[in-house]
């Protein structure tokens, strides 16, 4: 018989080293630079990849175990929610429109993040960074799936969720999150980490998840809350990757500082613009309010973010260029965005409405400087006209910002009565922007942004009709043709909440004759 070899059990630290750093090697028959061509061309210099630290020391085997446990708990709650007809317990059918926005605009980003991290992980020659990216890539795929499963229950009962993947690639406002992520995934690996891991996950993610998840809790949506809990421990790992990656780049070479600063400037602003959707959701779409966008911004951005940039000052990093303008916007952007969707609700597969008197009183209280002066008169006029049978639907296509792709709805910093217009000339063409910062992003990389797929321009170029449509035929209605290309159910997915199928169904299911009596 062979002598039994004593199996030495590895300590935690050795185990971590073996399961991460031990997985890499120096190539011999091809140069490392050829195997990893992407981690140098952005100009970031790394001298010692071993300085990369992973504070969680999570290895793949442990990862599967943890995630598997969370998964089991989550699906037990989702099943119970479905069996108990949990959808009937939400505050009001208007709440479900926040979920529509989530499944349409946020969930597809999880999938993009999954792809982005898979690609980025492959690009790094350092094993620590590679393993962290691999885990995040799998997390993001899991989030995409669990969100889809959690919300699919609502899809059985409500409109506006049945075609979210199809819409993501076509519908005008979804080009905002889509172009954000395509800009990130088509950048180099270090810029990708700065954009998604740092600027989005570390600086801004609380502003996305806290409002949605606590909004869900306040409005009786336990299935979404449970998803939020299940994702939370992943999110803290993602945030750690974000800050770790920034510090690593800054510590490795002083030449990295200006590059990283420029990325922070760019991606803070792009992330902030994307969050406009969340601002409006928070102030207008939750029947039971949690906190205003302005309060959330002050808590999560101004105080937490302010402390972060103070901390990074020792590396030579200052707060992002757009910081002050973003703080100034906290009084305005939610109202301006809601007005935009109220305007264009014929072309958006969720419902909008004029807030009730009680809700307007809440908005006046939360926005004493701006709501009564600039926004209430418009909303009251809308309501009056709607009651007279003249609900406003804007049918002319808007001018878009070339960079963030949002309609030009933002006003001049310091003057909420004037739309902010900026423009650049490049190679004999004009390009327009909503702000100094979107213009600055374009001016630095015009070759990239001249390729922007701007929905309004694409419609006018004839690219947003189905292939068998003949635009020269008499009686051709371009708007209806576009909605057909979107595969929206006109009259069910779109238009005002008042009179919608969602409103009627929900009232009938709850045994109420009239629901949402709000005026």
């Amino acid at each position: 018989m062979d002598t039994r070899v004593l199996k030495k059990k590895l300590g935690l630290k050795e185990r971590y080293a073996a399961m991460t750093r031990g997985l890499g090697w120096q190539t011999t028959y091809q140069p490392m630079d050829k195997v990893f061509p992407y981690d140098t061309y952005e100009g970031i210099k790394i001298h010692d990849w071993d300085k990369w630290e992973d504070p969680f020391r999570l290895t793949m085997d442990a990862y599967w175990k943890y995630q598997g446990e969370k998964e089991r708990k989550l699906y037990a709650v989702i099943d119970a929610f479905a069996q108990n007809n949990g959808q009937l317990g939400v505050t009001d059918a208007r709440y479900v429109n926040a979920l529509k926005l989530f499944i349409q605009g946020v969930t597809p980003l999880e999938y993009y993040a999954h792809r982005g991290f898979a690609h980025t992980g492959r690009a790094f020659r350092g094993e620590g960074a590679r393993v962290a990216c691999q885990m995040q890539s799998i997390d993001e795929l899991r989030h995409y799936q669990t969100e889809t499963h959690a919300i699919s229950h609502y899809n059985k009962y409500f409109n506006g969720m049945h075609h979210s993947n199809h819409w993501f690639d076509r519908v005008w406002y979804l080009s905002v999150p889509k172009s954000f992520f395509e800009d990130a995934v088509s950048a180099g690996p270090f810029e990708f980490l700065t954009s998604v891991s740092f600027s989005f996950e570390y600086v801004l993610t609380n502003l996305l998840f806290v409002p949605f998840m606590s909004g869900a809790a306040h409005n009786g949506d336990m299935s979404t809350v449970t998803f939020g809990f299940s994702a939370q421990s992943d999110e803290s790992r993602h945030m750690t990757l974000g800050i770790e990656c920034i510090k690593f780049m800054l510590e490795q070479d002083p030449g990295n500082v200006p590059i990283v600063q420029r990325w922070i400037d760019k991606w803070f602003w792009r992330g902030y613009r994307l969050l406009t959707l969340v601002a409006m959701m928070q102030d207008y779409m939750l029947p039971k309010r949690v906190m205003s966008w302005k309060e959330a911004w002050e808590m999560y951005a101004e105080s937490n973010g302010g402390a972060l940039f103070k901390d990074l000052a020792r590396y030579g990093i200052r707060e992002p260029l757009g910081w002050k303008d973003a703080c100034e916007g906290k009084d305005h952007i939610s109202h301006q965005a809601w007005n935009t969707f109220y305007n264009y609700n014929a072309a958006a597969p969720f419902h909008t409405w004029v807030p009730s008197d009680e809700e307007m009183a809440w908005l006046s209280e939360k926005y004493p400087e701006s709501f009564d002066k600039y926004h209430r008169p418009r909303l009251e006029h809308f309501r009056e006209q709607q009651q007279a049978g003249n609900r406003f639907y804007n049918k002319t296509l808007p001018m878009l910002c070339t960079t963030c792709q949002i309609p030009m709805l933002f006003t001049e910093p310091g003057d909420p009565t004037k739309i902010c217009y900026r423009e650049s000339d490049w190679r004999g063409n004009k390009y327009h922007f909503c702000s100094d910062h979107c213009k600055g992003i374009f001016d630095f990389e015009p070759e990239k942004f001249v390729q922007s797929w701007l929905p309004v321009h694409q419609i006018y170029q004839g690219h947003c009709f189905k292939s068998d449509v003949d635009p020269t035929k008499e009686g051709f209605d371009p708007l209806l043709a576009v909605l057909d290309y979107y595969e929206m159910n006109v009259g069910r997915d779109n238009f005002d909440f008042e009179g919608s199928e969602d409103q009627k169904n929900f009232a009938a299911w709850r045994g109420e004759t009239k629901q949402g009596d709000r005026t």
Partner: protein, 118 residues
């Protein structure tokens, strides 16, 4: 600056004039943010500028109660933010408007619903 890339980075611009049936004109009405953003319209370059207030803008802005009150002789025009005097008898092209120009108009005395700039 330009895009950092491993190979030549040069791709066609998506929104050049040739890709549209007519040049685009962006139009904004100052102090009327009920219309959430300026508009984008493909307009024939030989259309007289004077047709804008009579044939084009009523369909775009007519829902607003201020629109019917506009005295077009008093309207102030701006091109790329600077004061500008278009000639209503001349065509858009002869007024110097080209693809993706942005014009705005102010209607003195009309400041939106209850003076809210909306």
């Amino acid at each position: 600056m330009s895009v950092a890339a491993l190979k030549d980075y040069d791709f066609p611009a998506k929104d050049v004039r040739e890709n549209f049936p007519a040049p685009l004109l962006y139009i904004g009405w100052e102090d009327h943010l009920l219309f959430c953003a300026p508009f984008c319209l493909p307009l024939p370059p030989d259309m007289p500028f004077g047709a804008l207030p009579t044939a084009v803008l009523p369909g775009v802005y007519g829902w607003h109660p201020d629109f019917a009150k506009i005295d077009w002789a008093q309207v102030q025009w701006f091109k790329s933010g600077r004061p500008w005097q278009p000639d209503p008898a001349k065509s858009l092209a002869d007024n110097g408007l080209t693809h993706k120009d942005v014009i705005r108009f102010r209607t003195p005395g009309l400041n939106g619903i209850q003076g809210s700039f909306s």
